[in-house]
Symmetry: C2
Subunit: 373 residues, 2 copies
């Protein structure tokens, strides 16, 4: 294992600065079951914990107990697990629970789970009675560093991922490091893809730190995890604070996502984890950046190596036995960043800086052909 800088503060706080929609992210150990964690939330008679059938048995009782210090009634709804259920019928289960229990519009929702639970609970909170408060309690690394920060909520449509949703900010994000100890290795790796992302787009010092500290992260060393989460959230907060509704800069956070989403939807949701698509997507996007003259091959190699060390795929899947690159292009054209059918790619414009641009189909095809297994 390489040496890495010492980690000091076990509990950190990152403030997301969005005027009257500002909120804190707290990062540390032992937060979930501590009633103090929730003391500054709006007062209400009822809290509804939304989780899934995999996470609820592990953590719902602990959260419920802590919340009972603040809410007279704490309800629980456990959704079916997985991206395949990120749809309207499943969202409806949340609305059913709220209405069947006579929940008013002060009710506070708690998203206890990964990105899918967070996105769905957030959209339910945005839409129930046109908006109730909610709290993110992410239980995966990916959700802690990405989906729980920035206020994007959504469900999938059969024709596209995250097509129906809202920008809606939580009151609080609780990143409890202890929850990552039960996280399967594959999901840890998927989360690391989003952590790595922040290097090429914004902070190559952080990237170098990741190269040094990857073994500590894979071993779930709390100090290393705390630093990785904190720095990821800081960078995301900095970007989102400048462009809450993704009219410009914020799109750089989608580095690797345009290719990644195509893989996820082309393979069928649930086949690859989101982070696996992003990891492999970053490798393709780095190659595209290189072909467009924005970075050199050494950078592409360096990124590919780090992605591979995480245990993430670096060769892209074949999505069609016919015109495979054409299938990728077709899937990417319905990406939300597309405008009038033109795909907008996030490229690395020199290590540590991202840009959004179009690219000739021929070049994109070359890169896809080169990267496919």
């Amino acid at each position: 294992m390489h040496a890495h800088p010492p980690f000091s503060h076990p509990t950190a706080q990152v403030q997301i600065d969005l005027a009257e929609r500002s909120y804190p992210i707290v990062i540390g150990s032992g937060l979930l079951g501590n009633a103090q964690t929730y003391k500054d939330l709006p007062r209400a008679a009822t809290a509804l914990v939304v989780s899934n059938t995999a996470v609820a048995p592990l953590y719902a009782a602990k959260l419920t107990q802590a919340l009972q210090a603040h809410f007279a009634r704490v309800l629980l709804v456990a959704l079916p697990d997985g991206e395949a259920h990120k749809d309207w019928p499943t969202l409806q289960l949340i609305f059913d629970a709220l209405l069947e229990n006579g929940c008013d519009r002060k009710t506070v929702l708690f998203a206890l789970g990964g990105g899918v639970v967070g996105d769905m609970t957030g959209f339910a909170a945005a839409s129930y009675m046109r908006g109730v408060p909610f709290v993110q309690v992410p239980t995966t690394l990916l959700a802690q560093v990405d989906s729980s920060v920035g206020g994007k909520t959504a469900i999938n449509h059969p024709l596209g991922k995250n097509m129906i949703g809202a920008f809606y900010q939580p009151q609080l994000v609780v990143c409890d490091l202890d929850l990552l100890q039960t996280l399967p290795a594959r999901e840890l790796s998927a989360g690391l893809a989003e952590v790595i992302k922040y290097g090429p787009i914004a902070d190559m010092e952080f990237f170098a730190w990741l190269e040094t500290s990857l073994d500590a992260l894979l071993a779930k060393e709390p100090g290393a995890l705390a630093h990785a989460i904190r720095r990821s959230c800081e960078i995301k907060a900095w970007v989102v604070g400048q462009d809450e509704r993704e009219s410009g800069l914020r799109a750089i956070l989608n580095f690797g996502h345009t290719f990644g989403h195509a893989m996820e939807s082309g393979l069928g949701y649930g086949e690859w984890l989101h982070g696996e698509g992003v990891g492999c997507g970053m490798v393709i996007a780095a190659h595209l950046s290189q072909r467009l003259g924005r970075v050199d091959l050494a950078f592409v190699e360096r990124l590919t190596t780090l992605v591979r060390r995480c245990g993430l795929p670096v060769r892209a899947p074949i999505l069609s036995v016919g015109d495979n690159a054409g299938r990728y292009l077709e899937l990417m054209r319905i990406d939300k960043k597309s405008e009038a059918g033109e795909i907008r790619f996030v490229v690395i414009d020199g290590p540590g800086k991202a840009a959004v641009c179009a690219a000739p189909d021929a070049v994109v095809r070359e890169v896809i052909d080169f990267c496919c297994a």
Copy 2:
């Protein structure tokens, strides 16, 4: 017919002042088919007109033609007509049209129809790719004076009306008086209920003008309609400008609605028009105000008379052959204004001023028993 003040400006504009979400309401004749009406909208490749099967045959071609001056592609989706279809499967038809046609997030949606079309199109616009621009082109009086102003969008849940939605402002509201000429008398009356509402809660001079001008309004005299719509929008704009998200003052716009919603849902959506529930609901709410000592019986009589002159019901329907008042209370407890099971009633606190308060169940029961047929 009584004398009424002369009407001058055939085209008026009311500005809704909500910082970066501000927008104009234009009121006049000949607006729908005039390309100039839409000249200041954001540029986009595609416009999607959302209408219903009753309205589309009358007006969709005219709107489409005008929009073709600004958009390369103008699409149309006609939803099934009626409150019974204000649900998720019908909303999904809008998302399907958007995705099947590869619509990007600059696409502008146009709501061409009454309150149901406006609420659904608004919620679709709020949610598609987390928000695209939209325009309200209300074709009923009710939608022109109420549902198209203020940014409330929603669909119904089997357990409650407008329970799932968003606060989302349009770019523009186009109130074309010509469209009201094809409006059935019953729908005109339903719209007048919302017009009358603005008197007791905010402006008794306007109420007196309505008493004088009601025959002109029922005869669809354009000058009278223009004034009624303009003043209604001005009052609503004034209220919404102070409380966009209904944390306080805005609730007064729901005068008559708590009882009205109970009638609508108790009878089954679609049985009574929304405006009929509101008209009758205002009569009950006025009686409640009187029992609580806030207004005298003369005021209750004056309001009842005007509601009756519109052709609206002033006797409340029986919702249960058993405990009828109990059924009303049960239905009202799931109103969005309720807090921890306590119903919040909008009462008239002296003519021209509204307040929100709780009321003892016994008094509410008395009033319901008194007002039921």
